[in-house]
């Protein structure tokens, strides 16, 4: 690369020196050097940044060959001859560059054909032209104005008329090749997608300049042969400045791909912590500058790729589409179907694949964790519901079993008692009466026990009456304010047990004088508050009652908060999802 740089500088300087001998102004020299070195410089940068891409080397070559024509101005006769021979070599290189852009190599047959034809024309046609070129006779044949240019060592047939014909044919063939190039590029442009067109822009631009220049040259020569050498200076400046811009355009076009590669890093940032597949696809489309990009995820159970919206992605892509598979842990994971233009940068898609793999890993872990969490939540919710229905079953059993038996026994005893009214056996009557009292006491205790296990009124009439019933049994004065709203049974039961536990704590530990229970419904949340005026100092981390409540609330998607400063009462607040 350093050698190429040295060569470009040396050839440029030598060319300029030769050019200056023709009496070229400083402006002419400046323009000449600007265009040549622009190509060489831009080419060197491109070569350095994208060594695998041939574009940079072609641009350097273009920069060096740009100066070859200058050596016709004089010096050794052999050099003048070679210079005349390869004067148009830079145009062939430019055609090659244009056709090879942006891949840096010729990818289809017609491009290869046209590029080869360009080199062939310069080699054969240029030689033919060189051996008929007499610098002293055909002063206007080149862009150089040197009436006393050097001697052409290759000249074998000094015949002015022959040269004119050869020269014109040579130029016409060159023009034809330029048109062929234009046709190929325009065809690629028209067939291309948005990213492809963007990539092709420098080639089209440079081609435009060359075509304009060549056509203008030919037209001028055909129409005004006499004035061919007197090109208007302003037009020359415009043409050269335009040409100087071309290598910059090539460089920008080439490095744009690199910028895009850098943007792949932003993918991960852009997706953030919620890597949904649809967002991933959109971000890919933005980063790759390809709105048509499709993302498919491998679904082993379907044995096919599926798009983020759930639609299947065909295994064989449509023609004109390119496929990049993404493997994950050695297995098919995802596939990107995209514009083939993205393959131009051979490092872009591997970078995207790597980022994609990372994000899919993330997404997989994310969904795994979410799934596990949902499973755990569902499991604990099921446990709570199972416990609730177990309580209901137990209460039902007590009601249908023990209570019925005790009542039946009491009724039987009652009938004995009625018969005994006439009896004088007071001891027997007292015994029956005592048995009756015991049975009634047992019934009362059983009733309270069953009610404590699961109050029937809760399921039937909701929290309000159930809380009132709890308050009535409380040893403390209780103020109850419950909004009349119904929630799912498991939520109502959880709220109920929370209130019971809080009230029991207030009664047993808080030495409270009064308790306030409020239940209200606020935007889908059931808010339960139990406040007492006791000694405070209750702690969630101590006491199994409150901790059990925390677990139970968490299991149904609720939360428990306790505010209990020492000496300033306790306020227990539970929030449950409802509606």
């Amino acid at each position: 690369m350093a050698a190429a740089a040295v060569a470009a500088v040396a050839v440029g300087l030598c060319g300029a020196w030769a050019y200056a001998r023709t009496g070229a102004t400083a402006g002419d020299l400046g323009r000449d050097l600007t265009v040549g070195w622009s190509f060489a410089g831009a080419g060197l940068i491109a070569w350095w940044r994208r060594p695998a891409n041939g574009t940079g080397r072609l641009m350097v070559l273009e920069g060096i060959t740009w100066f070859l024509g200058n050596f016709q101005a004089g010096g050794p006769a052999l050099l003048v001859g070679l210079s005349a021979w390869f004067e148009a070599l830079n145009l062939a290189v430019l055609a090659h560059l244009v056709l090879a852009f942006p891949e840096g190599r010729l990818t289809d047959r017609s491009s290869r054909l046209v590029a080869r034809a360009g080199y062939g024309l310069v080699l054969a046609g240029g030689l033919l032209r060189a051996i008929t070129y007499d610098p002293r006779a055909d002063a206007g044949a080149t862009y150089l104005t040197c009436p006393d240019c050097g001697v052409n060592a290759l000249l074998v047939a000094p015949a002015a008329r022959l040269f004119t014909t050869v020269d014109l044919t040579y130029r016409a063939l060159g023009g034809a090749l330029a048109v062929a190039c234009a046709v190929l590029v325009v065809r690629r442009w028209r067939a291309g997608t948005q990213p492809r067109r963007r990539a092709l822009l420098p080639a089209v631009l440079s081609l435009f300049f060359v075509v304009v220049f060549v056509v203008w040259d030919i037209v001028l020569r055909l129409l005004f042969p006499a004035r061919a050498a007197t090109v208007p200076g302003a037009l020359l400046i415009a043409s050269d400045l335009g040409q100087a811009a071309v290598p910059v355009a090539f460089l920008v076009g080439l490095l744009r791909l690199r910028l895009r590669r850098a943007a792949v890093g932003h993918l991960v940032l852009e997706i953030g912590p919620d890597p949904s597949l649809a967002r991933l696809r959109d971000a890919l489309a933005r980063v790759l500058d390809d709105p048509s990009v499709q993302l498919g995820l491998w679904r082993p159970e379907l044995a096919r790729y599926v798009e983020p919206d759930g639609g299947p992605l065909p295994l064989t892509p449509a023609p004109g589409r390119s496929v990049t598979p993404v493997a994950h842990r050695g297995q098919r994971s995802a596939v990107l179907v995209h514009d083939p233009a993205l393959d131009d940068d051979e490092a872009l898609l591997p970078a995207v694949s790597a980022a994609l793999r990372l994000m899919l890993d993330n997404a997989w872990l994310h969904s795994e964790v979410t799934e596990r969490l949902a499973e755990a939540r569902a499991a604990s919710s099921r446990l709570v519901q199972a416990a609730d229905s177990e309580r209901r079953r137990l209460e039902r059993d007590l009601h249908d079993g023990a209570q019925v038996r005790l009542l039946t026994a009491l009724m039987a005893l009652q009938r004995v008692d009625v018969r005994l009214r006439q009896s004088d056996d007071t001891m027997l009557r007292d015994t029956v009466a005592e048995a009756g009292r015991e049975l009634r006491q047992a019934l009362t205790e059983l009733r309270e026990l069953a009610h404590g296990i699961h109050p029937g009124v809760l399921a039937r009439d909701g929290l309000g009456p159930a809380v009132v019933a709890v308050a009535e049994r409380s040893a403390l004065p209780v103020v109850v304010a419950v909004e009349a709203v119904r929630c799912p049974p498991v939520i109502e039961a959880t709220a109920y047990y929370t209130i019971c536990e809080a009230l029991a704590n207030a009664t047993k530990h808080a030495r409270a004088r009064a308790v306030t229970i409020t239940v209200r419904h606020d935007a889908g949340v059931l808010v339960v508050e139990v406040a007492d005026d006791g000694v405070g100092g209750a702690d969630l981390s101590r006491g199994t009652g409150l901790r059990g409540l925390t677990d139970r609330l968490a299991a149904v998607g609720g939360a428990l908060g306790v505010v209990s400063p020492a000496g300033a009462g306790t306020r227990i607040r539970a929030e449950l999802p409802c509606g």
């Binding site: 009601h399 009542l407 009652q414 009634r440 009535e472 409380s474």
Partner: protein, 214 residues
């Protein structure tokens, strides 16, 4: 007196029917669930229906709903609701909707034949019956402060009997005092509680219950 008994436990239902028959009451029908009960009421022309609150299929409030329907469709049929649990809210709600010819008793009262027969008689006559335990709970509600504290012990007893649905005569009889004395107690109670004076029968019960249920 014709009575229909609705109770899903067969042992209990049979025991109850035998108790009633022993006391000279005609059992005009037996039902194990609400639809059967309603059909029996259509056919059996009962004076009173005894129904458990909880019956199949859901074992929640089938008896309550059947009671409401019977009171709506057959105003002449008194209904005595039997509850396993002491649920003051349920009792007050049922009573406020149908203050006449309706009663709410704890189920274990059926073993107290005298009390049961008396309650049946009262709902048959269009009166109200509230279980003494419910009234006691209402009276026993822990209040931070209130007009109830102003009542004398005797007045509280009279208030409780009123809340159970008893008339002045019945109260006088129960307490072994004269009718005039009871009237004085009642007037004092109503004054202290700031209730409307001179309400009769079921209106008086409602006013008292409403006060206690606040």
């Amino acid at each position: 007196m014709r009575v229909i008994v609705a109770e899903d436990s067969v042992i209990m239902r049979e025991g109850l029917c035998r108790l009633l028959e022993d006391a000279g009451i005609t059992v005009a029908g037996r039902a194990g669930d609400a639809p059967t009960l309603l059909a029996q009421v259509e056919r059996g022309e009962p004076d009173v229906v005894l129904t458990d609150i909880r019956m199949p299929p859901t074992h929640t409030d089938e008896g309550l709903r059947a009671a409401r329907e019977i009171r709506d469709r057959h105003p002449g049929v008194g209904v005595l609701i039997l509850s396993q649990y002491l649920e003051t809210t349920t009792a007050l709600r049922a009573l406020s909707r149908h203050p006449r010819g309706l009663g709410y008793l704890l189920k274990e009262r059926i073993a107290d034949v005298g009390q049961l027969i008396e309650a049946i008689g009262r709902v048959a006559a269009g009166g109200s019956v509230i279980d003494p335990q419910v009234v006691a709970t209402l009276l026993g509600r822990r209040r931070t402060a209130g007009a109830l504290d102003e009542l004398t012990a005797r007045e509280r007893t009279v208030l409780g009997l009123m809340a159970e649905g008893r008339s002045n005569d019945a109260i006088a009889q129960r307490l072994g005092v004269g009718g005039k004395t009871v009237e004085t107690y009642v007037r004092n109670i109503f004054m202290k509680l700031c209730l409307e004076q001179n309400l009769v029968d079921h209106r008086r019960v409602l006013a008292v219950l409403a006060y206690l249920g606040q």
